[in-house]
């Protein structure tokens, strides 16, 4: 016998078949995923994988909303892992369930398993004898562990329409924001301006809040409650203006961010590969800067919470968090309650793009609800707080030195990062990372953001190791151990800045070697799948065929996400006046087996448009007093008239394992735009975003 592959990771941790699927006598199937819908369409992709493996009509399947205690614990829905983790687990479980029913039916029909047909959950034996999953539902127990092994699974190749879209098109309640249980109280918080600020003594908060508003104050946490949402909203606006705060840690000065990053305490990690060969004939050096970026969900974060009215304490929370078990772990730390006394249920929110305030607001709701046991509190953040109170994607400085040998080939690469960690997600350390946890009286300070280990894709160092064939490569990742601005995970993590730096340097190196950038990249790649996406992108865009036009430019970039995930090549076309306009993006991706073609295209395109917004426009603004970008006017994002045309082409790899698509395109998109600007203006932009001010600064430096 050949080696049996181990169980998919999520299944190893949640081994019972009944943890994932329930077959009902009435012909319905419950699928219980541990990954949550964050607007990426994952629920539909998972439903499709389950329907294929069970060989049932997708219409029979109900996707159960993940909740602690009832759903498999699959950690956090992040890092483009949902298809790999949850999808593979469901495929395995459902195929095994199918075979259990097949075996039971074969026994009862006195037939051979192999001769049974299967049509939408009904097994068909000789003489058209039939037995269905629904008839056998009580006879086949799924309370048994999954067994390793591979089973054939039907692949339909057609896309299912998304199960959540009709509600959204007709404006039906679907989002957590639409939950309106009876007897609801509305909550708002008034956040301190800086880490460590405390309300100045001697203020009468109740008087400031006004009649009919209940104030819940605990240390630096100030919350308000009222049955009247408008009244509490207005009171919160008033308090945000009127409450005086003392102290708190000053933020750095935004203008000196580049230097600030390299003058802080750090915890360095060095990853060195290969041998330094002969001395370099030539060394190219640049220092890149990516600012803090906000997640900027369209919906302010929202959560509901309710404590048991009496008896043993019990807390129920409804949240759009990406990790219900992680959130529960932190709530358990803050309230000193065993996890079984807390139930956290997921309800859809708007797209979050990483660790946004979704978790923070859940603790806010729970703290407010504690003041009114038995009542449900709905807590919603202000737009201001959503953009300014957040964890942010950390600022990154990346210094790169590239050695070329006498033949113009890459011989050495040194890549040095300074950045805060890219994760302060809850559930991972003894102290809570939730915002209010450090604000309440006696609350422990937050753990400083960390980087996930390289085995799970790393954090600041994600995609820092060049994927190219280079004899000597060194990555030094300096994680800051001070955190005056809270940072955590945002889509693609360090890959956005690292790929921007690497691919900018690849263009510089190609120029130094006197070679076309695409040919230069191919010369340093031995992975055939990398070749395929690069050559396809070059072919589709007519790379090298276009005459130069004044003010227009074209740039190329490539990356394999995490160096182990999806392959992506991007060609960007830009027009530069006093501003940069991206006209067109041609994108080729290889995600292995394609589960949902339209889902992959949508994710890749959405990722590229978001990355265009990051690259052209986005930076969190701040001063020692606090965060200054507090609305869509001061934190602008790409608008409809500024969005480029995007074409996404998928490489067919039905035989290769499926990989996530949501984070493949950001790095190469930002880099291709910067390379296109270089092509248009001859300026190497090393600092994002690519605003008018950045261009002017680069021109002045260039002269």
């Amino acid at each position: 016998m050949t080696d049996t592959p181990p169980l998919p990771k999520s299944l190893g941790a949640n081994p019972l078949l009944s943890q994932w699927v329930r077959i009902h006598a009435n012909g319905c199937v419950d699928i219980i995923p541990g990954k949550v819908e964050i607007g990426q369409g994952i629920a539909t992709a998972l439903l499709k994988m389950a329907a294929e493996a069970l060989e049932v009509d997708p219409a029979r399947i109900r996707m159960v909303r993940p909740a602690t205690g009832d759903s498999p614990d699959e950690g956090v829905t992040s890092g483009s892992q949902s298809i790999q983790d949850c999808g593979r687990a469901l495929r395995h479980v459902c195929a095994e369930v199918r075979d259990l029913f097949r075996a039971e039916a074969a026994m009862r029909l006195g037939a051979d398993m192999a001769e049974l047909g299967l049509d939408d959950g009904t097994l068909i034996g000789p003489g058209n004898a039939r037995l269905s999953y629904w008839e056998l539902a009580d006879a086949v127990s799924l309370a048994r562990p999954a067994t390793p092994g591979t089973r054939d699974v039907l692949r339909t190749g057609t896309d299912l329409p998304r199960i959540d879209i009709a509600d959204k098109v007709f404006g039906r309640p679907r989002f957590i924001h639409d939950m309106r249980p009876d007897d609801l109280l509305h909550g708002r918080v008034v956040p301190p301006p800086r880490i460590g600020s405390r309300p100045a003594p001697g203020q009468d908060l109740a008087a400031l809040a006004g009649a009919g508003i209940q104030v819940v104050a605990d240390g630096a946490f100030i919350g308000l409650l009222s049955p009247d949402e408008l009244a509490v909203e207005r009171a919160a606006t008033r308090l945000r203006e009127k409450v005086r705060w003392d102290g708190g840690a000053p933020l750095p000065d935004e203008a000196s961010l580049h230097d600030w990053l390299t003058t802080q305490q750090v915890d360095p990690v060095v990853d060195q590969r290969g041998e330094a060969a002969a001395p370099a004939a030539r060394t190219l050096v640049h220092s890149f800067l990516k600012p803090f970026i906000a997640h900027g969900s369209m919906a302010p974060s929202c959560a509901l919470a309710c404590w048991a009215p009496e008896g043993e304490p019990h807390l129920a929370v409804w949240t759009h968090s990406q990790g219900i078990y992680n959130l529960r772990a932190d709530l358990s730390v803050v309230f000193g309650l065993p996890p079984e006394r807390i139930r956290v249920e997921h309800v859809e929110g708007a797209g979050c793009y990483g660790h946004n305030p979704a978790d923070d607001v859940a603790l806010d709701a729970a703290l407010l609800a504690r003041a009114v046991p038995g009542r449900t509190v709905r807590m919603q953040m202000s737009r201001e707080d959503e953009l300014a109170g957040g964890p942010f994607a950390p600022a990154m400085r990346v210094d790169v030195e590239v050695d070329l040998d006498a033949q113009g080939a890459l011989s050495g690469w040194r890549h040095t990062i300074w950045s805060n960690g890219h994760s302060m997600r809850p559930g991972r350390s003894k102290a809570s990372t939730l915002r209010a946890a450090a604000q309440i009286e006696g609350g422990a300070p937050w753990p400083i953001a960390i980087n996930m280990p390289p085995a799970t894709g790393g954090g600041a160092d994600r995609n820092a190791m060049p994927f190219y064939d280079i004899p000597a490569r060194t990555v030094t990742n300096n994680r800051l151990t001070v955190m005056p601005i809270r940072t955590s995970a945002m889509r693609a993590l360090g890959a956005f800045a690292n790929v921007f730096a690497i691919e900018s340097m690849m263009d510089e190196a190609a120029v130094a070697a006197g070679e076309d950038p695409v040919a230069f990249r191919l010369r340093h790649l031995s992975d055939p799948r990398a070749w395929d996406v690069i050559r396809e992108a070059a072919r589709l865009s007519g790379w090298g065929e276009r005459a130069a036009v004044e003010g227009r430019g074209r740039g190329f970039a490539f990356a394999r996400y995490k160096n182990t995930g999806a392959y992506c090549a991007v060609v960007a076309d830009v027009t530069c006046t006093d501003e940069v306009r991206v006209n067109n993006l041609t994108i080729v991706v290889d995600v292995g087996e394609i589960i949902s073609r339209d889902g992959v295209i949508n994710q890749v395109e959405g990722g590229a448009i978001q990355a265009t917004s990051w690259a052209l426009k986005e930076a969190v603004h701040f001063a020692p007093e606090g965060i200054l970008s507090r609305g869509w006017e001061s934190y602008p994002i790409l608008r409809f008239s500024e969005v480029p045309a995007v074409t996404v082409h998928l490489v067919e790899r039905p035989e290769a394992p499926p990989m996530g698509a949501g984070e493949a395109s950001q790095g190469p998109t930002g880099a291709a735009i910067a390379n296109a600007v270089h092509d248009a203006l001859g300026l190497r932009i090393t600092r994002l975003p690519l605003t008018r001010e950045t261009l002017i600064e680069a021109m002045e430096l260039g002269q």
Partner: protein, 155 residues
């Protein structure tokens, strides 16, 4: 508190509220509609947009007194699953969203445009949506869906 007579999705409604109560609050809280969404409360994102007569307006930034006697249409009033507006059908067909939080407001701005210009160009569609933000990057699909709906309506 004063009472205002409004027409909401074709039905006359009397609403008792302070004059400066935002229309969005009336729609979501008093009238229990979920289509208009709260995104910023400052007229900057478009998630809350509704038609006031034929204009797309941010409901978060429009006091209730200003719409007295006017016809207010939310996304629920554009059409329903059994009788969808061509824009809604086109959004379904194109699967024109990711998270969809921005979609109600975008459908409203698109509906206002199509009442004004039956066959807009792509640039006109984009310009008409410039007060609506989408963070997921689903813009191009939505523009395609709107152009498809306008072609469908012209048939």
């Amino acid at each position: 508190m004063p009472t205002y007579e409004l027409e909401i999705n074709g039905t006359p409604r009397a609403v008792t509220a302070e004059a400066d109560t935002p229309l969005l609050s009336v729609l979501r809280t008093e009238l229990g509609l979920s289509g208009p969404r709260f995104g910023c409360g400052a007229g900057e994102c478009g998630a809350c947009r509704v038609l006031v007569d034929d204009q797309s307006m941010p409901a978060c930034d429009t006091p209730v007194w200003a719409v007295a006697g006017k016809a207010v249409t939310t996304v629920e009033g554009l059409g329903s699953e059994s009788d969808p507006h061509p824009l809604q059908s086109a959004f379904l067909k194109e699967q024109a969203m990711q998270c969809g939080y921005c979609v109600s407001g975008i459908l409203i701005s698109a509906a206002a445009l199509l009442r004004r210009v039956a066959r807009p160009t792509e640039d006109e569609v984009r310009a008409a949506l410039d007060r609506n933000l989408c963070r997921c990057g689903a813009h191009n699909r939505m523009v395609r869906a709107i152009l498809a709906a306008s072609a469908e309506m012209a048939r």
